[in-house]
């Protein structure tokens, strides 16, 4: 019982801390601070309809670059920690073959989901969603392939190349801002024309970056899944 008592005490103490927050929060009625600036200027500054995207990709682009890095590094780390035996034949004999329906269904679905993912990240500046959500959709397409065909293997070389180059291009686009616009313009989306507000080819580099992010996140998540699924060394 004593073993439960300390955790209980700690959780109760935490409860009081959080209670203090809960009882003191007044609901917002207006935008303040930087949010207000974003709401007022975001559209004209960056030409993105989706303000969250504008913030994520441009205003706080450095964060997103970091976020991509985190995911990339987690993928690298997982691959490193779960490195597999090279010799063992991963024929997947043990696994049951998936049902015919699933196979056919996935063959149909995979391209659609992939397309959907691509749609999400290309339209990131116009509608909800973006690189991460689109990437996740692509990864789920890959996941479906795993389910449908247990012997399915992702082509690591291609994946690594996509991952690498989307990342490098992302950094390069950022650096282009420095080169073209000046020292304070890392990741500035305005190195491309902002275009017509509300169209696909608008908001400068945002669609481009989100496409790169989408590809990168998609391949990374897929690799993580693949590594988690694979056999251990």
């Amino acid at each position: 019982m004593i073993k439960r008592l300390i955790p209980l005490l700690l959780v109760i103490s935490l409860f009081f801390i959080l209670l203090k927050v809960a009882t003191n929060v007044a609901p917002n009625y207006d935008l303040t601070g930087v949010a207000k600036t974003y709401a007022e200027q975001g559209a004209s500054d960056l030409g993105a309809m989706n303000l969250v995207t504008a913030i994520v990709v441009t205003y706080r682009g450095l964060d997103t670059l970091g976020e991509v890095t985190v995911l990339f590094m987690a993928g690298t780390g997982i691959a490193l920690l779960l490195r597999r035996k090279k010799k063992k034949n991963d024929s997947g004999i043990k696994n049951r073959a998936a049902s015919e329906i699933l196979k056919t269904g996935s063959k149909l679905l995979v391209p659609i989901i992939t397309m959907f993912g691509a749609y999400i990240f290309i339209n990131g500046h116009l509608s909800p969603g973006g690189g991460f959500q689109g990437g996740a959709a692509i990864a789920s397409a890959v996941m479906l392939m795993f389910l449908a065909d247990s012997s399915f293997k992702i082509n690591h070389k291609v994946f690594v190349l996509i991952e690498s180059f989307s990342g490098i291009f992302y950094v390069l686009i950022g650096v282009l801002g420095l080169v073209i616009l000046g020292a304070d313009n890392f990741l500035d989306n305005r190195i491309l024309p902002l275009g017509t507000f509300g169209t696909i080819l608008s908001a400068g580099t945002i669609p481009l970056i989100y496409t790169l992010v989408g590809l990168k996140v998609g391949t990374e998540l897929a690799s993580i899944l693949d590594n988690m699924k694979g056999e251990l060394e």
Partner: protein
């Protein structure tokens, strides 16, 4: 200037690139990897030099073309430049060191390491709170992977614990960020700080700031929420531990520095407490630690605790903050990285196993450098930093913090020097140390950097009155030429000491001249026996020279800082010197503990004085009034640890007795005078303060020291211990004489200082040489050596005559002056004790000469010959000096008397020819004419000796076998020796006085620390879940304290 954004771009770009160019071959990838790190190091260095040399102003770098708060901004100022240069260069060295570890784990390891560097650079540069979160995650995740990637159970479980702790810290951080954002509407740190301080009291902000700061504090691995961190240090590959301890801790400390302005005063105070607590507790727990890497972990956490304390005290430290912070940080950074790397090279799991580097002087040298740098010995940056820290804390009256910092520092000294002792003194191990070059190079570089940084940072603290670094450079050269044979180095050292004396002496006043001569002449005399040593005597000359450099530095010092600097150099040098003895491990440790303790007391005393008068000159001690008593007690205690007054003496006998034969005179005849010198400076400065009661007490302490020292000396069976206790007693006389505070008293003290130097050097040289020859310290294993070693006999004879204070030799003059002094002062009781202890001294002096030289000779010593001529030369030089001084003391004493006349006009000595006289109220009180005494005594001696020889011409020799045991063999052979337990009957009468009360007291203290360390560290029970409890408990506990209750 290259935009710092490129640091991020280069590291990230290369990180993304490396996996895809796997095909190009390992060489290409590795080249790119290193080029990348070199490039970012170069960029950061370019900024650093711009700030330092070209006076560049701090710049803000915005991203995305918008100004904050809309976008994230980076800041590049001097602090940032220093830190990222340090981090990137450290990471470069770390990459070289860990290269093999990375290579085993493939290209991904290189990628992760690049991103690890990226994370740390980002943490330092960014000025956006959420960006800090992102970079923190990058750094942490990279660290997790680097820890776990070798797949050992240890590293995996350590990594897992780290991840849990990191996970909790990051949810707290997020919560904190959003709470503050909700009230301030910005994520930009500067905007946030401005808004928070403008916002007034808000419950949400209160909780938000608290949680935010505590999440950073948890990441900094403070006590008690740091069990996981210790496991990480222990379980990880050493290369990675080095990076965690050095580079990422640096980045995290700077994060704390950046977010701390958000905190309220109370919260800041709390961080101060947590920092100090961490420093103390980690060092306490470390003293029972045997596992190398865990010990280093404790030490790291302790150091980080100290740095947290410094950061949180920023407002108090004011302008000196940067110097203190960087001084401590750079020392910790370089030394800890070096130690972890060394640990990886040595591959010794337990600290005792480090003995295998015994045969590798370079490794020992580097190890010594690192631990000295950690503890804040000169010439390393930490010394100046700690110094300044204590000075400023004293100004603010934060005495509790000073005491705790000092306590923790002493604990640090305990375990680090004990470790060092193990290396040099434990049984040799058969194991060999492989020395992989690529791993050693980084260690060489950090060693070198420590000295360079030490030079510049110390210089920056001591601007104007610059410390004389030339002698120290000479010590450095001695280390470099240590491969030369002894006679070259010996000659070189003697020339150097003489030359230095030649430069130094002309500018000195009488007092300094006397001590300079003791130190310099003592140096030359005690180096002469060195010629008798064959081979290289690795390590001897640099450390001996170091001690003398310190001693001379004391003479040269004009400010507190210079004095303390020299004092610490002397302490370190003498410690290494003492440690060279065969069985000196524990004695050297207790020596350094007392010395370090004493040094910290001196530091504390100086700090108090500086706090009151605002001056750092040694002479300003005279202006202290409010703190006078405290300052006096602290300084006197500090100096008395060196003079080994009773209660603080237990280090001395072992240290002096177990030292090498020619080291004993160095430490006994010469080194102890440093304490006397300090006391004199203190007494001169504070004579007019209201501390006369304290002088009275010190007089008693001196008298009792004299009595007990002599008594214990009489009961010794070990010849060198006997001399060592005798030194304690003699220093008791000096303390007593000084405390009298009259002109004649001080004459006595100076005279004792000079003559004790001479005869104790003489005796230690003579006895040391015999001990070396006979290979035993025990007097009952000697005897009858008069015929084998007549020259030594004469030395010892003269030595004991001089020491005993019988006419005509110098000791008599000392007694005459001393007796005059205490009688004139009216200290009859103490005087009686002094007089009585003079009588006691005869006991051991008699025993010394009798049991070594007289009586039957031991069978195995029949073929013994005279000791090495290199020991005899200094002895006879000393004898000659003694003779001259004994007959013509006026040469010195008159000048000394005049010099002190201004300071202490009371009871002066008047000289008339060679004769000295004292007066009371104009009436003649006592007269001493050494020259006539000398002549008379010599004549008497010649007559008596002639008569004795004549009378005993028919005496038979007593042989070993003249003693018959009637076929019985004595159980312990020593009982059969005539001088064994010679004074047992006196022991019955006075034995109660020599009960080891003091020893027991100090043993009790030691045990107390050890057992509490062992008991409380069980708190870290290795269970990750318990660590979670610690973390949450830590947060809620401090929250409720800050909040003043639950609601």
């Amino acid at each position: 200037m290259v935009n710092p954004i490129y640091i991020i771009a280069i590291l990230l770009g290369l990180g993304f690139l490396l996996p895809s160019i796997n095909k190009a071959g390992i060489k290409v990838t590795v080249t790119i990897f290193f080029l990348g790190i070199i490039a970012v190091t170069a960029i950061s260095y370019q900024w650093l030099s711009a700030f330092l040399i070209d006076g560049q102003q701090a710049v803000q770098i915005f991203t995305a073309g918008f100004k904050p708060p809309m976008s994230i901004n980076l800041q590049m100022g001097l602090n940032e430049a220093v830190l990222i240069t340090l981090i990137n260069f450290g990471a470069l060295l770390g990459a070289i060191y860990s290269f093999k570890y990375f290579a085993e784990n493939g290209i991904q390891a290189l990628v992760v390491f690049l991103l690890f560097i990226l994370g740390m650079n980002g943490l330092v540069l960014t000025r956006d709170i959420f960006n800090i979160f992102v970079f923190l995650e990058i750094t942490s995740i990279a660290t997790y992977i680097l820890i776990g990637m070798d797949l050992r159970l240890k590293s995996l479980s350590a990594g897992f614990k780290y991840m849990i702790a990191g996970g909790i810290a990051s949810v707290f951080l997020l919560l904190g960020i959003i709470l503050i954002y909700s009230k301030t509407g910005t994520l930009n740190l500067d905007g946030m700080i401005a808004a928070v301080s403008a916002a007034g009291s808000s419950q949400i902000l209160f909780v938000g700031v608290f949680i935010l700061i505590f999440s950073v504090v948890i990441e900094l691995k403070v006590f008690p929420a740091n069990g996981w961190a210790l496991d990480v240090y222990e379980g990880s590959d050493t290369g990675i531990s080095a990076m965690i301890s050095a580079t990422s801790a640096t980045a995290l400390l700077f994060v704390l520095y950046k977010v701390l302005p958000l905190a309220s005063i109370d919260l800041t105070k709390m961080i101060v407490i947590i920092g100090v607590l961490t420093f103390v507790v980690s060092n306490l727990f470390a003293i029972m630690q045997k596992s190398t890497n865990r010990l280093l972990g404790y030490s790291s956490i302790g150091q980080i605790g100290l740095l947290v304390f410094v950061i949180a005290s920023k407002d108090i430290l004011g302008d000196n903050f940067e110097k203190i912070f960087f001084g401590l940080l750079i020392s910790h950074f370089l030394a800890k990285a070096g130690l972890f790397w060394l640990s990886g090279i040595v591959k010794a799991e337990k600290i005792q196993d480090w003995v295998k580097i015994k045969k590798h002087p370079i490794l020992i040298f580097m190890f010594g450098t690192f631990i000295l740098a950690l503890m804040g010995f000169p010439p390393f940056p930490s010394l100046a930093a700690k110094w300044s820290l204590v000075m400023i804390l004293a100004e603010n009256g934060s005495f509790l913090w000073i005491s705790l910092v000092i306590l923790a520092s002493i604990l640090e000294v305990l375990y680090l020097f004990r470790w060092f002792g193990y290396i040099l003194k434990l049984e040799d191990s058969e194991e060999k140390v492989e020395k992989p070059q690529h791993q050693l190079h980084p260690v060489y570089i950090v060693t070198l950097l420590l000295y360079v940084a030490g030079f510049y940072i110390t210089r920056s603290f001591d601007a104007g009155l610059s410390i004389n670094f030339i002698p120290l450079a000479f010590v450095g050269i001695l280390f470099l030429i240590d491969f030369l044979p002894v006679y070259i180095k010996n000659t070189l050292v003697m020339i150097a000491v003489s030359y230095y004396g030649y430069i130094l002496v002309p500018g000195l006043d009488t007092l300094k001249l006397i001590f300079a001569l003791i130190f310099l002449v003592g140096g030359i005399l005690t180096f002469i026996p060195g010629y008798s040593v064959k081979g290289k005597r690795i390590g001897f000359y640099p450390v001996a020279a170091m001690m003398y450099v310190g001693l001379i530095g004391l003479i040269e010092a004009e400010t507190f800082f210079q004095f303390f600097f020299a004092w610490e150099i002397m302490t370190a040098g003498s410690y290494f010197l003492i440690l060279r003895g065969k069985r000196s491990m524990s004695h050297a440790l207790s020596y350094i503990l007392f010395s370090a303790g004493g040094a910290y007391l001196i530091l504390f005393g100086f700090a108090l004085s500086g706090a009151e008068t605002g001056s750092i000159l040694l002479t300003s001690l005279s202006e202290v009034h409010i703190y006078a008593t405290m300052v006096f007690i602290l300084l006197a205690l500090g100096f008395m640890t060196k003079t080994a007054s009773i209660g603080l003496h237990i280090w001395l006998p072992g240290a002096h007795a177990e030292a090498e034969s020619d080291v004993s005179p160095m430490v006994s005849a010469v080194l102890l005078k440093a304490g006397v010198f300090g006391l004199i400076i203190l007494f001169i400065a504070m004579r007019n303060n209201d501390v006369s009661n304290l002088f009275y007490i010190l007089g008693w302490v001196g008298a009792i020291t004299a009595l007990l020292g002599n008594l214990i000396a009489s009961f010794q069976e070990d010849a060198k211990k006997l001399l060592a206790y005798s030194s304690i007693a003699q220093l008791g006389y000096i303390l007593f004489a000084l405390a009298i505070m009259t002109n004649v008293g001080w004459l006595a003290a100076i005279w004792y200082s000079i003559t004790h130097f001479l005869y104790k050097a003489l005796l230690f040289l003579a006895v040391g040489a015999i001990v070396l020859k006979l290979k035993t310290h025990k007097m009952y294993e000697m005897g009858g050596l008069i015929k084998k070693m007549p020259m030594s006999f004469i030395s010892v004879l003269i030595g004991i005559i001089a020491l005993s204070g019988v006419p005509p030799l110098a000791g008599f003059g000392g007694k005459w002056l001393l007796y005059n002094a205490f009688i004139l002062k009216g200290w009859y009781f103490q005087g009686a004790i002094i007089a009585f202890s003079g009588v006691v001294a005869f006991l051991y002096l008699f025993k010394l000469i009798y049991s070594i030289f007289l009586g039957p000779i031991k069978d195995k010593h029949r073929k013994m010959t005279e000791v090495s001529v290199w020991y005899l030369i200094p002895q006879y030089l000393i004898i000659a000096t003694l003779m001259v001084l004994s007959s013509k003391p006026r040469m010195i004493l008159e000048k000394v008397g005049l010099y002190f006349k201004e300071i202490l006009p009371e009871n002066t000595v008047v000289w008339n020819g060679d004769a000295a006289s004292t007066f009371v109220n104009g009436k003649l009180f006592g007269v001493w004419d050494p020259f006539y005494i000398m002549i008379i005594v010599c004549v008497m001696f010649a007559v008596l000796l002639g008569f004795l020889l004549f009378a005993s011409r028919k005496a038979t020799k007593v042989e070993m076998f003249n003693i018959v045991y009637s076929a019985e063999r004595p159980e312990s052979p020593q009982t059969a020796h005539f001088s064994y337990n010679m004074f047992s009957h006196y022991r019955k009468a006075l034995g109660f006085l020599v009960l080891p009360l003091v020893t027991n007291f100090w043993n009790f203290i030691t045990d107390l620390f050890h057992s509490s360390s062992d008991f409380f560290r069980k708190f870290y029970n290795g269970n990750a879940q318990v660590y979670i409890m610690h973390i949450i408990g830590f947060v809620v506990f401090f929250y409720f304290i800050l909040n003043g209750g639950i609601f």
